[in-house]
């Protein structure tokens, strides 16, 4: 008897309050790294009605115009005075601590940073995951959730559905049979809209229009390329609670780092708790999560497992992780301990080496000043729109060699 399970993951659009904060935080990281790739930044953001809070610590050759960056991000998302968040006139509270450095003088002036350049900046327990659900080696529910969210933003910004507004959430529940995706169980789309749509009551014109438009312009193109399809039994809920006129920070306050599941695997794998956005990529929370995903993806790509969760523990100041543990959920081609050993043998997990190999600090420069802010929406993993170093499957051969299957 096959075992049927349902797993759901949510994603959010760029205009979701928490996501606004993530994007502002990462835009600040970009802005610092673009002018000074050695900059150390931590940028926390919160938004509320008409108000942005920024708490930024930086150690860099210069500062950036924090407020201008924040306003630009809000405008870029598509917020206006009309849909609830005026990028030009919202108030911005900044709490700034900056330590200027002159070249070559960085380390001495850097407070609370370890002296060994290769050591971890903080302690961290990070997880990475990959499986064979999709070519991107991502769990299917979160991947579909992201695609819907991205599509919602596209049809809004391309004026395909001109009545849509920036705030929104999606959720995709997938039914699995023996751990493999079978069908789409439920799709929920909850999206902010303007008065132009009309009433959503009962069978009002606005309701019919929204349901039809979302199915046609959002769901259809997304599921056209999905490994599972909508069927007649799939529940499709579009704005199930009715009107969603007031959205963004006017409806809910937002905070950087509160969409950790959206940023990672949609709850499909464990999470160390550390947020990704708003930290320079040399921060162990961030690079740890990236390298753990890199390891997991390479394990799956090397066909050592169909599903792989990698757990790395870093201690502050120490270069090598305290521990590497792997769970393949009984899908492994070899025992988990063998994979663990193979990882340690074939991949350098020292933070400084990872920063160097992935060129994490140079990515904003290499991408014209906008990299992490793009990453901050629709998940940090399994992206096909960005060339992400941690998605490269370039250690599969080494891993296979290490487990002795290289010559298979």
């Amino acid at each position: 008897m096959a075992r049927h399970t349902v797993f759901s993951s949510e994603s959010v659009t760029r205009g979701h309050p928490d996501k606004i904060c993530d994007q502002i935080s990462d835009a600040l990281v970009d802005a610092f790294l673009y002018l000074d790739p050695d900059a150390k930044v931590s940028a926390e953001c919160a938004v509320a009605t008409g108000l942005v809070f920024l708490a930024v610590n930086s150690v860099a050759a210069m500062t950036v115009d924090l407020v201008e960056v924040a306003r630009e991000v809000i405008a870029d998302i598509g917020y206006t005075e009309a849909n609830g968040f005026d990028p030009d006139t919202c108030s911005v509270f900044t709490n700034v601590s900056h330590h200027p450095v002159i070249d070559g003088d960085r380390r001495r002036r850097t407070p609370a940073r370890p002296s060994t350049p290769s050591g971890a900046s903080h302690q961290a327990s990070v997880f990475g995951y990959a499986n064979t659900d999709t070519p991107e080696r991502m769990p299917l529910p979160i991947l579909l959730g992201h695609r819907l969210a991205r599509r919602l933003d596209e049809v809004r910004q391309d004026k395909v559905l001109p009545y849509l507004a920036p705030d929104g959430k999606t959720l995709v529940a997938v039914e699995f049979e023996d751990g493999r995706p079978r069908r789409v169980h439920t799709v929920i789309v909850n999206v902010q809209h303007t008065e132009a749509l009309g009433s959503l009551d009962g069978s009002a014109a606005g309701r019919r229009r929204l349901d039809g438009d979302i199915r046609e312009a959002v769901l259809a193109p997304v599921f056209a390329t999905a490994p599972v399809q909508l069927d007649t039994a799939t529940r499709i809920l579009v704005n199930p609670t009715g009107e969603f006129l007031v959205g963004g920070p006017r409806r809910d306050a937002g905070l950087t780092g509160r969409k950790n599941m959206v940023d990672t695997y949609g709850g499909y794998a464990r999470h160390g708790g550390g947020a990704l956005s708003g930290k320079d990529p040399a921060h162990i929370d961030r690079l740890g999560a990236y390298v753990a995903r890199y390891v997991a993806r390479n394990v799956v790509a090397a066909e050592l497992a169909r599903s792989c969760e990698v757990h790395l523990s870093y201690a502050i100041g120490e270069a090598h992780p305290l521990a590497v543990s792997v769970d393949t959920f009984a899908t492994g081609a070899v025992p988990d301990e063998v994979i663990e050993r193979a990882i340690l043998d074939s991949i350098d997990l020292r933070p400084a080496r990872i920063v160097e190999r992935f060129r994490l600090c140079d990515l904003p420069v290499l991408n014209g000043g906008k990299f992490y802010r793009i990453l901050a929406a629709y998940g940090h993993f399994g992206r096909t729109d960005l060339d992400l170093p941690w998605e490269r499957e370039d250690r599969t051969a080494a891993l296979m060699d290490a487990v002795g299957r290289g010559s298979r």
Binding site: A61, T63, V92, T94, H98
Partner: protein
């Protein structure tokens, strides 16, 4: 309309509800929707004030009510209410009303001028767009409308000052005592009491009126002039003579004399910061039309009185004059902000009232007790009344006023003029100082701070051969060696050339014949820097005459000039670094044009960021040559792309000398400094860092152009956490002050603009800048800083604290000594002894030995460390429970010491003048010695005694007078005293000395309550 309960007929809540109408001719009405809407308040005031039989209207958007003074015989209340309802409901005024002799201009309705096309405005105002008004017409209109002048606030009359002086409760009680004495006891007693009152009032009057005189002299008498076109000719007339319909001519640097609708303009821009708080000049466009509800700052087809033309020229037809201008509107609002009483005012009043009550109670009790004991009622009354007079702290206001007045004089030496005496001690209690960045923290002038050419920073100098480079500016990553070679002088000269040619400023000579640049501040600074860098700007401009100018515009943050040179053209560009850089494809590096790569771009942006971190305004400079024959017409876009990047120039508004130190002093004194600026956050942060605004370098900035829209709770929540308010309009300072006050802060606020007025008035201490401020801001401020210097504020705070401490010392002295007299008198009564002190003794003590040492205490120099303590909590009483306890204890010691001496004298001489003389001498001597002890609450009476010259003088003098009472026969006769023998003197010395010594011992043993650091060094 039935009765006084007007309704609008549809059962909705009434638009207007009478609140207080009991007094005929005076009505306070609540108007629906008025609260929080200054616009409506203005509308109501405007619409009502011109009407027949209405004398004065004051609408208050804070209370939501309107107060109308009217002629009740001609205008029944009912009609007034319905008129208000009509205006509130937006109903047009009946045509009949316009016909009344209301003294209104032809345009009684005050249309939304910015909403009307030019022809409409001209027609409505009966203006002549070419020739202007005829002189005759203008005179007629002037007579009808009145001068273009804002009414000045009424100044304090001498009578008011006197009444304020004698109107306090203790003074009134003394007056009553004088009256009773006059009818019951004798004129001499009454005379002495009246003398006490008179001396008090005289000192107060003299000090206050002197302050008023100094103030009046501050206002400049220069009358502003206006350029107009009348009778087809240009003319210069006093601005007060402008009338609606006049054509005013606007020129750079001039203040707009009245509100007007633009008819024509050429590159006109005005700084409307006074009205809108926007520090950047606003470009004007006569052809624009705006919706009626457009905010003032966006009405580009209008110019407003009090704003300043920064560039370009224009012609405008005057739409409103005098108090009907937007400026008048703001001023009307300012009149409604209320100043809270200062902490000391509150406390002295309360203390005075309480003590007066207690004294009267005690003396009344004593009188009853004495009479019950069978003492003669009249003599008993005399003593009781005299004791009451002695015990009532009527010296308190005198001492306080004197202290404050002398403090005012001392502060004047620090170039701080105090307009309201009580503000001095508000300064002492100040916990937050809000200052404008521009002009107070900085000098409010632009100068070139650094050039960045060829990857190196070049400091501006007398000659450009003096070239310095900051190693941090070498864009390290960009070259291998880590060292950037200095750019050749020719490259720097190229940057200077662009700064001169792409520049509309001009040189003039000032009074001493020195060159002075005129134009926008930035361009003037560039021109001056080039001149100082050795460039012959005039020659340069002759050689490359301007063929075309493309100014900055919306979405085009740079300026382009085209210059002819032979058969070629030079294209010069100056503007926002990012945008100019985007238009550049090559850059000037060591005299050569090289392709501008991504790395160089980033290096330039990094240099730009670093300059911005130093609070500089940064401009990018670029140019190129063009050999094409250019058709330069206004419409075509100049070929300003594919440029050669030359460099950056950073302009800075330098921080004033002494600001950093003054802020550090304020930190030490537990006072938070909050900077308010129209600048963006980044500049604000950079300036704050430079002046050490926050000790730990963690600057907290709130950038908000819409402060008024923030909810009150949010604002109150953040206001304590904010060090800098950025992009804030002066009008919003009011909200900042109120929010800070709501969190319990005592707020000092600086300001110089008209729009600062409400905040200045609402602040606990409104500080106006005398040097450059508007007269109106000075009128409303508590303190005027004549040199606009922040350091003066810190000095003023120190004075304020010293004064407060001195008043506390004098208060302690007065209370303890008065109480000791009561203890002596009542103690004797209770012990069944004869009265130790006669009524004259008591009045003598009151007039001489009480007041003089108290005055001496009042002018004590500042105690060391006064600026190293946190500010006194304004909610704390001026005398803590602790202090009160020690005052009672000291008083008891002195009273009992005197009583002991008196008892011994009684034993020796029996009841009579001699024993009384011993008691009298003992208590006065004890009090004089005690005055020394009051010099400090913590330190010994003798520590640093040499500095207290005035106090020593008054004590010595008083002791001399006291000696006279036993030596000089006339005084002996008056006071009924006798000479004293040596043994008596020994008794007096013991009775006076032992208690005071005991006070000192107890003081030394008292643990200092949390006021650490007081003993380190002397300030």
């Amino acid at each position: 309309m039935p009765g006084t309960a007007p309704v609008n007929g549809s059962g909705r809540p009434p638009l207007v509800v009478p609140v207080f109408v009991a007094v005929p001719g005076r009505a306070r009405l609540r108007v629906a929707g008025l609260r929080g809407r200054p616009g409506l308040a203005y509308h109501l005031q405007d619409q009502l004030s011109g009407r027949d039989a209405i004398l004065r209207v004051s609408a208050n958007p804070r209370t939501g009510t309107i107060l109308v003074l009217f002629d009740a015989r001609r205008l029944p209340l009912r009609n007034l209410v319905s008129a208000v309802v009509q205006i509130r409901a937006g109903a047009p005024r009946k045509p009949a009303a316009a016909g009344r002799p209301s003294g209104r201009p032809p345009s009684a309705e005050r249309p939304a001028w910015h909403h009307l096309p030019r022809e409409g405005v001209v027609g409505k105002l009966g203006a002549a767009p070419e020739a202007g008004l005829s002189t005759g017409e203008a005179i007629e209109r002037l007579a009808l409308i009145g001068p273009n002048r804002l009414p000045s606030p009424p100044s304090k009359s001498s009578m008011t000052i006197v009444l304020e002086q004698v109107g306090s409760l203790p003074m009134l009680l003394l007056g009553a005592a004088a009256l009773v004495s006059a009818v019951s006891v004798g004129l001499l007693d009454a005379g002495v009491i009246l003398a006490v009152i008179g001396i008090n009032a005289a000192i107060g009057y003299v000090t206050e009126s002197r302050v008023a005189r100094i103030l009046a002299s501050l206002d400049s008498l220069a009358e502003p002039m206006a350029f107009v076109r009348r009778d087809g000719r240009e003319a210069v007339i006093p601005a007060a003579h402008l009338v609606p319909g006049d054509l005013m001519l606007l020129k750079p640097g001039h203040e707009v004399p009245a509100d007007g609708r633009l008819l024509g303009a050429g590159g006109l821009a005005a700084n409307e910061g006074f009205l809108t708080g926007e520090s950047a000049p606003v470009s004007k466009d006569p052809a624009a039309l705006h919706r009626p509800d457009t905010p003032i700052g966006d009405r580009t087809n209008m110019v407003y009185s009090g704003t300043v033309v920064t560039e370009g020229v224009g012609v405008a037809v005057v739409t409103e004059t005098g108090s009907r201008t937007e400026l008048g509107h703001v001023r009307a609002l300012a009149g409604e902000a209320v100043a809270p009483p200062t902490p000391l005012e509150r406390q002295l009043e309360e203390t005075g009232r309480k003590l007066a009550m207690i004294s009267i109670g005690v003396c009344g009790g004593m009188f009853v007790l004495g009479v019950l004991r069978g003492l003669p009622a009249l003599a008993m009354f005399r003593t009781a009344a005299a004791l009451a007079v002695a015990a009532v702290p009527e010296g308190l206001p005198t001492v306080a006023t004197t202290t404050l007045a002398l403090g005012v004089r001392r502060m004047l030496q620090h170039r701080a003029l105090v307009r309201r005496l009580a503000a001095v001690e508000s300064l002492g209690a100040t916990t937050v100082i809000c200052v404008d960045k521009t002009g107070t923290i900085t000098e409010n002038r632009m100068k070139v701070g650094v050039w960045h050419v060829g990857g190196a920073d070049v400091l501006p100098g007398a000659r450009l051969s003096v070239v310095g480079a900051d190693p941090s500016a070498s864009n390290g990553r960009q070259d291998d060696t880590g060292v950037t070679p200095l750019p050749p002088p020719a490259d720097v000269e190229r940057a200077l050339t662009i700064a001169v040619l792409c520049n509309e400023a001009d040189f003039t000579r000032d009074g001493q014949g020195r060159p002075r640049a005129e134009g926008s501040e930035t361009e003037a600074a560039l021109l001056l820097a080039a001149h100082e860098g050795g460039i012959d700007t005039a020659e340069l401009r002759r050689r490359y005459p301007v063929a075309a100018v493309h100014p900055r515009a919306d979405g085009r943050n740079w300026m382009t000039t085209v210059h002819a040179t032979g058969d070629r053209h030079l294209i010069m560009v100056k503007g926002a670094p990012e945008e100019v850089l985007d238009r550049s494809s090559r850059w000037l590096d060591q005299g050569e044009e090289r392709p501008l790569g991504a790395e160089t771009r980033r290096a330039i942006l990094r240099a730009n960021a670093r300059m911005a971190d130093q609070a500089m305004r940064v401009l990018g400079l670029a140019m190129r040559e063009s050999s094409e024959g250019l058709e330069m017409s206004a419409g075509t876009e100049p070929p300003d792309d594919d440029l050669v990047w030359v460099g950056l120039v950073g302009l800075i508004d330098p921080v004033r000398d002494g600001v950093r130190e003054a802020i550090a002093v304020c930190h030490g004194a537990g006072i938070r400094t909050v900077v308010i600026t129209g600048d963006q956050s980044r500049t604000a942060v950079a300036v704050s860092r430079g002046i050490g605004l926050v000790p730990d370098d963690r600057v907290r900035v709130l950038e908000t152009s819409r402060l008024a829209q923030m909810s009150e709770e949010v604002l109150r929540g953040v206001v304590r956490e904010v060090d800098v308010f950025a992009r804030v309009a002066p009008a919003h300072k009011y909200e900042i002050v109120r929010a800070l006050q709501a969190t319990g802060e005592v707020v000092a606020m600086t300001g110089d603009g008209i729009n600062d007025a409400p905040a200045l008035k609402a602040a606990d201490v409104g500080v106006a800048m005398g040097g450059r401020g508007a007269a109106m801001a000075r009128d409303l401020a508590d303190v005027v800083l004549m040199d606009d210097d922040f350091a003066s504020i810190a000095a003023a705070v120190e004075q304020g604290r010293t004064i407060q401490a001195n008043i506390r010392k004098a208060l302690r002295f007065l209370l303890a000594t008065n109480l000791s007299e009561i203890i002596l008198t009542v103690g004797a009564l209770l012990l069944g002894m004869a009265q130790p002190l006669s009524a004259f003794h008591l009045l003598w003590i009151n007039l001489i030995t009480d007041v003089l040492p108290a005055l001496g205490l009042a002018v004590e120099p500042a105690e060391a460390g006064v600026m190293r303590e946190p500010p006194a909590d304004p909610r704390e009483p001026i005398l803590s429970r602790d202090a009160l306890g020690s005052i009672v204890r000291d008083a008891a010691l002195m009273g009992l010491g005197s009583l002991g001496a008196y008892a011994m004298a009684l034993g020796r001489y029996g009841p009579g003048p001699r024993a009384s003389t011993v008691a009298f001498s003992t208590i006065t001597m004890a009090q004089l010695a005690y005055a020394l002890g009051c010099r400090s609450e913590e330190r010994s009476a003798l520590e640093g005694l040499g500095r207290s010259k005035t106090l020593l003088g008054t004590i010595g003098g008083t002791a001399g007078l006291q000696a006279g009472t036993v030596i000089v026969p006339a005084l002996r006769a008056l006071l009924g005293t006798t000479p004293l023998a040596f043994s008596d003197l020994a008794l007096v010395a013991a009775g006076a000395g032992v208690p005071v010594a005991a006070c000192e011992v107890l003081k030394a043993r008292r643990p200092a309550p949390g006021r650490g650091g007081g003993h380190e060094g002397h300030g």
